[in-house]
Symmetry: C2
Subunit: 457 residues, 2 copies
């Protein structure tokens, strides 16, 4: 709350200073902000104001400007960065850690990113290019290759001296210990160094039972490890167990947030990289295919209704209650699906305990179906004066909510088993299923019991 108020004050001042063209005052205000706050300010400004204030800051306080756009995230950050010349970007990119620079450069338009890499100092562009060679979403992409490591034959005193002479190394909590060929052999905490005498060999106090990530490991798996073992950073090694980088917990938090966003989005058929302010045309292009698939499945469901056109012709009242069966099945199915997909994502639900989940969900489905089916049946009986119509609706709801629960459990588990993200395709399967089964059971039962239904007068 307090943070938002402070940012609102800064925002007001930035807008005012931009309007009156008081650039010196504006610069003075901006350079006193934390990069994360600047990122928030940039987010809330209009595009023109954002570009104007970023440009001002980039000219005078390159590092701060770059830290701020790193906090914005690679897509939004690259959009802002792309307003500058390639020369400028090459200069600015050298102000921040190479993993952050790589993420931004990777999101620039292709010709611009090539030009920037050409213009960077060979050593630095080499580091960035190496990072970009790792596959997307792997540990290699988010690791910081400038990892501080100590040789295993040092003493604690020598290690402290080495640490003191590497002042620019930031965020050191674990000191990784490597052998003479840079194989990762142990870890020692900074605090541990303080607790023993300077002559102690590092080897004696280091822990060699350490958790590391392979450079090609999926970022989601890295995040899971860091979270599970409560780590502040995880060393990254190549296939020969040589130390090549480290990933800190703040990057892991970003991965966790992105994965959660992706799960939420995929359940709703939105692509994982869309954000609130993705341009309209791009959003349209991203959402249209999924809606197209839904339209196709909606026609399938409509085809089921068409099978019963003669029944509806005789009893148009069925059209009134038909969507209730499909809709309630869809709602119940979405509940089950969400719990199952999230259970899989959190690692609580695995193939081995899936039968238990299926039993539970079908019980819940039948329970909900019976409770709500009876309700709906009574309402229809009361309002339409025909008990059979109510019974048909209630029975169809029970059947459909059972189907919804079973499908809501089995579909995501099945997709997971064949290595498809269960969040991705489940929801369209489930709603198609509940529509088809809903219409079929309701109109089918109505056809069977048609002699007891109310005729059009």
């Amino acid at each position: 709350m307090a943070a938002q108020r402070r940012i609102d004050l800064v925002l007001d001042s930035v807008r005012r200073l931009l309007r009156v063209g008081a650039t010196a005052n504006l610069l003075n205000l901006l350079q006193k902000q934390h990069p994360a706050d600047l990122a928030q300010v940039f987010t809330e400004l209009t595009e023109r104001d954002r570009e104007a204030s970023f440009s001002l800051l980039a000219d005078r306080h390159g590092r701060l400007a770059m830290e701020a756009i790193s906090e914005l995230g690679p897509e939004a950050g690259a959009t802002l960065l792309a307003t500058r010349s390639a020369e400028d970007i090459a200069r600015l990119a050298q102000e921040i850690p190479s993993d952050d620079a790589a993420a931004l450069i990777d999101n620039l338009p292709e010709d611009l990113s090539a030009a920037v890499l050409d213009l960077m100092r060979p050593k630095e562009s080499g580091v960035v290019e190496n990072l970009l060679e790792y596959a997307e979403r792997t540990a290699g992409r988010i690791m910081n290759p400038q990892v501080f490591a100590l040789a295993e034959d040092l003493t604690v005193g020598e290690a402290i001296t080495e640490l003191q002479s590497n002042r620019e190394v930031e965020m050191v909590f674990y000191l990784y210990v490597v052998d003479d060929r840079r194989h990762l052999v142990g870890v020692v905490s900074l605090r541990r160094l303080l607790l023993v005498s300077p002559e102690t060999p590092l080897k004696r106090i280091m822990s060699s039972d350490l958790i590391s990530a392979r450079v090609d490991m999926d970022q989601e798996e890295v995040a899971r490890q860091v979270a599970a073992y409560n780590l502040l950073a995880i060393p990254v090694v190549d296939e020969e167990n040589k130390l090549v980088g480290s990933i800190t917990v703040d990057d892991v938090i970003d991965v966790i947030k992105d994965e959660a966003t992706e799960d939420i989005y995929r359940l709703a058929g939105v692509s994982g990289d869309e954000r609130a302010f993705t341009p309209a045309l791009e959003s349209l292009r991203k959402r249209l295919p999924w809606l197209g698939v839904n339209l196709a499945t909606a026609f399938v469901a409509a085809g089921v209704v068409a099978l019963f056109e003669t029944t509806i012709d005789l009893f148009p009242v069925l059209a009134i209650f038909m969507p209730i069966v499909a809709g309630m099945g869809g709602n119940a199915g979405t509940q089950t699906l969400t719990v199952v997909v999230r259970g899989i994502a959190l690692g609580e639900l695995t193939w081995s305990n899936s039968r238990k989940a299926l039993v539970k969900e079908t019980l819940v489905g039948i329970g909900n179906g019976v409770a709500l089916g009876i309700c709906a049946a009574l309402v229809v009986w009361a309002t339409r004066g025909n008990p059979v119509l109510g019974m048909v609706l209630g029975m169809a709801m029970i059947i459909n909510m059972f189907v919804a629960a079973a499908a809501g459990t089995l579909v995501p588990l099945g997709l997971r088993a064949v290595n498809i993200d269960p969040a991705l395709a489940s929801s369209v399967f489930i709603t198609t299923m509940t529509d088809v089964f809903g219409f079929f059971s309701f109109l089918g039962l109505a056809t069977i019991f048609s002699q007891y239904l109310p005729r059009v007068p």
Copy 2:
């Protein structure tokens, strides 16, 4: 991957050793595991095996057993803990930090938790009871009150000595500096201590521009601060700015995961504290009210269809395509809703930039509506041979997808403005709206253009 394979191996051994009753071997295997791995093993075992192995471990390695169930999370952990006697629990609770103990005890059945608190050593139960007095979901509930603080008049050398004599203090990265009345006045990193001479006064090297959380601050806000400023821990202060505890980044990760789960769940009408293996009856009780609300709104939508009963009577073909309009509006509305709700949760979307979001979303809605409406119209024209029926369907889809986009943006922003969680109530609003507008626009247009529609032969 590797981690899961290792856990699978452990699981197999645990099951085998339990079956043959080789408790000594089992204990030996369990006590070599990391608490996080044990938590995963417990999750995947059957209830009986889980209780048997936990009980074995709790008797012999109380701390490890408690660390493992802390990793399970407070609900699942408390369920397992509740299988022990109050005396046992009181003894075990003292093995872990008081914030973790408080979270577990808080989730025990009421009479058991009261008995446990009575049986704990007065000093420790006092700490736990103090924590439980903070409102749920506030910083106070997850902070560790045993925070290590240094007096501001110390030198660096004295500070290091103090640190060395407090060996049991775990996870120290930031050293908080307090005045003689324990007001938080600064922070210094462990690393900084190593870089200056021992005689330096702490005051000279500490940073007094530090970010802290109030004890009554919402956990979500705490998490946002820790994530935004890339902190490893945040000090917690009371209303007088006195240091009362600290929250470490691993607890923040749990908060971020729980908030994401809650957002995902609420969008689907599932209560935030449900998990994959919540007992069926409890799940039923939690999901039924939301489905009940949905049933009521489904009857409202059915009421709209009923208004057009005579039109349907004349043109039963309308019943076939009617669900398409409502369903596509629902899908498009859910996409918009999801992006907006997540944008609000991530802090990217605020009241001040909401107009921009509204313009964007309605453009996307109309764009999708036009593209899919034309498709659907052509399909209907081709299959039913009547262009007007197709046109009515297409126009209704465009109208409904526009309504879906507008409602999908405005409803969550409106709920947010009146301080209701936008994820909580939005989805039922949106689907009701798209059902009502969908049926109304489709059947209304059909009534207007009825003279051009295909009569039942």
